[in-house]
Amino acid sequence: MKDADKKRLLREMLFARRFEERCYEAYVERSIGGFLHLYPGEEACAFGVLEAAQVGHDYVITSYRDHVHAIKSGSDPKEVMAELFARETGVSKGRGGSMHIFDVKHRFMGGYALVGGPFPLAAGIAKGIQMQGGNEICICFLGDAANNQGTFHESLNMAKLWNLPVLYVCENNLYGIGTRIDRSTAVLDQYQRVSGYNIPSAQEDGQDVELVYKAATKAIKHVRSGKGPYFLELMTYRYRGHSMSDSNAYRAKKEERMWSGRDPVIMLRDRLIKDGKLTLNEYKQMDTEILDEIEGEVIRFATESPEPDVAEVEKYVLAENDPWVRGGVAS
């Protein structure tokens, strides 16, 4: 990876970190409602993988912890924040919320709130790619706990059976909500579980964005070459609770300290400083610029945007004026 790319990635990851922290504040201020699942600590996963992908060309689908994946896929952070603020200008027009960020023009196919729900959807998107004959792939990001759903097994089986171009990325943050993986899951190394479906897999440090990028490059090459699905497990950690309604009381302080010592943003920053490519002052300057951008542009846009018109509450339930409902007769 070139130094310029590393510096750009550092800025993007720091932006994502500050974006999510600002979401936390906005939630406390009650500008954001519903459930809110934040990404700090896991940034290297989305950024490393999607840096290796062709964003806007490849399809991306994920769970409810979805803001950062959307932004790296090309979504305008202003429109993501507007969605969280439930505004008409939001990516999902204020109908989705934090757990349902959709931005189809960037091929970000959505965040879904049922744990494990996107597994078969991703395989289906890959089936669609296969039928259209394109060289896109579908990348599906889900957490480790999703692997205990039936959809994991059903989808891996079909993805391999039909050699579908799908990359499953497991962001293993060691917890399914508040239950540690060794208390919920018989096999701790998730990448081993897919060998039962004859799918190639790898495990990588999910805190080091360069290592993630390398592993993802290899995985994506495999999938794009027509060899079928691949499963990449990334070992990571979320710094906050599962959602805002999570007291986060179930983790040992020692464990939390260990992982905050492996912060993906700080690790990349320090490496650039050590290599003489960045100074601490430059980093601080970058941070200030980001904070200004988030406050002056992102939050401002969301705050000033209109809410959806209540008269349109029944819009988008069904297709509008579909002639086939009347047996093909135009109205």
Binding site: S92, G96, G110, G117, G124, K127, S155, W324, V325
Partner: protein, 321 residues
């Protein structure tokens, strides 16, 4: 026959649009449990007529994901009892994705499945699930009562941009009936007066339309002219059609194969209440199954289910004859 009508609709839609695919258990090489896809694997190949593993929620979700990219999957679930397993993807994804994406995505899938009770299939192969499906916003539900509808509804459903659940019936695949020689698309909304009458409306859907027709024939001998209305669309229900018929006959009986609670009968009664309460000359009634899991023993099974005689009895009581 009903199954031939379905087969023809599959064949024509596969030929019409290369993005149409068919998926399900045993639908390819084996030709389908009810032959609705027989010969199509040989004609269109394994990439478009897809034998799936026995993973109902998985392959339904896969079909829904493919539909995001413009694929038009027709998903056969071998028995409606197995469709319980696919409800997660049907309800949580297909029915909601247009709405929660602010109109960016749609899931134009067709899910067809035989429901109803057959002969001694026992509790886990005798579910009647239409009441569950019709309660979900964003999902269309239709239920063909004859081969013409089975053919025309499937064709419209494939082309419609909404997810459509087609509730068929285990006992109806060998039913005979006219199907137009020319291509025909049946509406996915509305209802049909299949026998006009002035004294009472019998509302049926799917197999119960035939029970209603049989009952109407018998009631005529007692001097009661029953109108039979086929509610071929269960979601959305035809409020105007229900109102118009009851406004003519002033009496209503709903005949449903399912248990009464939260069902078609309850919903139609509510619509009558809301739309034309002051047209009524008698309290509406419903003829439903008993509230029991369907038994294996033939006598018990028969006792649990409605039939034309029960419809006749309810109507005669209504008229005091």
């Amino acid at each position: 026959m009903y199954w031939e009508a379905l087969r023809r609709a599959h064949d024509e839609e596969l030929a019409n649009d290369p993005m149409v695919i068919v998926m399900g258990e045993d639908i390819g090489v084996a030709g389908g449990t009810y032959k609705a896809t027989s010969g199509l694997y040989q004609k269109y190949g394994e990439a478009r007529v897809i034998d799936t593993p026995i993973s109902e929620n998985g392959y339904t979700g896969l079909g829904i994901g493919a539909s995001f990219l413009g694929v038009r999957p027709i998903i056969e679930i071998m028995s409606v009892n197995f469709a319980w397993l696919a409800m997660d993807q049907m309800f949580n994804t297909a029915a909601k994705v247009r709405y929660m994406s602010g109109g960016q995505l749609q899931a134009p899938v067709v899910i067809r499945s035989p429901g109803g009770t057959a002969h001694q299939l026992g509790s886990q192969h005798s579910a009647r699930m239409e009441k569950v499906f019709m309660g979900i916003a964003g999902l269309r539900v239709v239920t063909p009562s004859n081969p013409r509808q089975a053919y025309g509804m499937l064709k419209s459903a494939v082309r419609c941009n909404d997810p459509v659940f087609i509730n068929e019936h285990e006992l109806m695949y060998n039913m005979k009936g006219e199907v137009p020689d020319e291509e025909y698309f049946h509406p996915l909304e509305g209802s049909e007066v299949v026998r006009p009458g002035r004294d009472v409306t019998l509302f049926g859907y799917n197999i119960s339309v035939h029970w209603c027709l049989q009952a109407a024939g018998e009631l005529a001998q007692h001097g009661i002219e029953a109108e039979v209305v086929d509610l071929f669309a269960l979601s959305p229900l035809d409020r105007a059609g229900i109102r118009d018929s009851v406004s003519r006959t002033h009496r209503a009986v709903i005949v449903e194969e399912a248990e009464p609670a939260v069902g078609v009968g309850a919903e139609v009664m509510a619509i009558i209440n809301e739309e034309c309460f002051f047209e009524l000359d008698a309290a509406p009634a419903r003829v439903s199954a008993l509230n029991v899991p369907i038994p294996y023993n033939h006598g018990l099974e028969k006792a649990a289910l409605p039939n034309p005689q029960a419809v006749v009895a309810v109507v005669r009581k209504m008229f005091g004859v």
